[in-house]
């Protein structure tokens, strides 16, 4: 599955599977959404109490376990960490806040456009601008310093935690929260969602599929490899939406989306910039967390906490548009990204030895 053909096929499968998950019960244009699903899990375990977005999403569990299994099988599982972990945690928080202002991660951004949601165009433009800003700092020597090998058991913990989440979902004890209305109440059957997650986890691990890497590598190295995956998801989700009669072009009344172009733009600009600094999109962070990369585990935990903050502090947008608190949070996120970018760029900020 190496090479161009592999990443195009993987993107195509992700695009079609995403529409199938909608057919089986997921919210529209939300076959996969890493940000939304981590947000739902945060609600499911009670970290926030927004009643419409609480569920333990098996797709997330499948992605991590799929990546874990294939990495083990291919001898690519390696426990490592220690590359600016708290910066990564906070970047995870920031990326989640940006995604919940737009209402979707980069993957859902593409799936929204594939379903005809033209508001996603503002998101994509913002995403590209955010990546461009991040790349400027990469060219000025931005990095979060190297990682180090860690004991193997450390890398096994996150996949095990995900198995624990699956057990909780199946047993469904009373202390969990499950939405009765809203997006959190709409889901494909557990084992279909889990299987889809496993398959995409395997494909994404094999092909290194990354929504931010495509644009970044195109700008940095004129390398179109990962961008082909991004485009393939868009094309195949569009075709599958057409085939299932889900395609509904327009701006107003799109599912789990708002029409405020400026904040769609800014939300995804934050995600693009933050994800470039992290070295990968939310999907890629989940896959790496299954491969033993504990820095990515910390990033995912940051996204989980970010989702809880976003709903507890009323930062997340609704279908009516962005919230006043969300707008303030977005500005704080942009300032934070600027400071982190500057202080970690070796050509701009020479640390005193």
């Amino acid at each position: 599955m190496d090479g161009k053909k592999g990443i195009i096929i993987a993107g195509g499968i992700v695009g079609v599977l995403s529409v199938l998950l909608v057919y089986f019960g997921n919210p529209m244009n939300m076959g996969f959404c890493i940000a939304c699903f981590i947000r739902d899990i945060a609600g499911g375990i009670g970290l926030h109490r927004a009643p419409v977005v609480q569920y333990i999403r098996p797709e997330i569990i499948g992605l991590v376990i799929g990546a874990f299994i294939i990495a083990l099988a291919n001898k690519e599982f390696e426990t490592k960490g220690g590359s600016s972990p708290f910066s990564r945690f906070l970047l995870g928080v920031v990326v989640m806040i940006g995604a919940l202002i737009f209402l979707g991660c980069p993957l859902r951004m593409v799936l929204r456009l594939g379903g005809g949601d033209l508001n996603a165009i503002f998101g994509i433009v913002g995403f590209i601008i955010g990546i461009l800003v991040g790349v400027q700092f990469l060219n000025k020597g931005f990095n979060l310093k190297r990682n180090y090998k860690l004991p193997t058991v450390e890398g096994y913990l996150f996949p095990v935690v995900n198995l624990g989440l699956l057990a909780l979902l199946i047993v469904a004890p009373a202390f969990l929260f499950f939405s009765e209305t809203g997006p959190g109440s709409m889901y494909a059957p557990v084992f279909i969602a889990l299987a889809a997650g496993l398959l995409v986890g395997i494909l994404a691990q094999k092909t290194r599929l990354c929504m931010v890497g495509g644009t970044r590598d195109m700008i940095l190295f004129k390398d179109s490899h990962l961008l082909l995956g991004f485009i393939s998801i868009l094309v195949f989700s569009f075709l599958a939406n057409l085939a299932f009669g889900f395609f509904n072009p327009g701006f107003a009344g799109q599912p789990v989306a708002h029409t405020d172009g400026l904040w769609n733009f800014l939300g995804m600009a934050i995600v693009g910039w933050g994800a470039v600094l992290l070295g990968g999109c939310p999907l890629r962070q989940l896959i790496l967390s299954g491969e033993g990369n504990v820095d990515s585990v910390i990033t995912v935990v940051g996204m989980l906490v970010g989702a809880a903050i976003a709903h507890n502090f009323a930062l997340a947008s609704s279908v009516e548009g962005p919230s006043p608190n969300g707008k303030i949070a977005a500005i704080i996120c942009i300032v934070f990204l600027g400071v982190i970018s500057y202080l970690n760029s070796e050509d701009l900020f020479k640390k005193s030895a």
Binding site: R146, C210, D217, F221, K222
Partner: protein, 68 residues
């Protein structure tokens, strides 16, 4: 031959370090990478940039020798 070690760095640092090093030593460099993703990304970059290269597996790493 100039040698760079990209061990422990994540995307896109190994390729970025390779690109910068080649700008200083366009005739060629040796690159140490410590995982398959970085190995494939660096190899793809060298191919796209018109360099010949060989990959040798060492203890925990790969040594990529890039030559014009």
């Amino acid at each position: 031959m100039k040698k760079i070690d990209t061990s422990g760095t994540g995307c896109p640092q190994p390729v970025l370090m390779t690109k910068k090093a080649l700008e200083g030593s366009p005739e060629g460099i040796d690159i140490i990478v410590d995982n398959n993703t970085a190995k494939n990304n660096v190899a793809r970059f060298l191919k796209n940039s018109g360099y010949n290269f060989s990959i040798k597996e060492e203890a925990d790493n790969f040594l990529i020798e890039a030559r014009k």
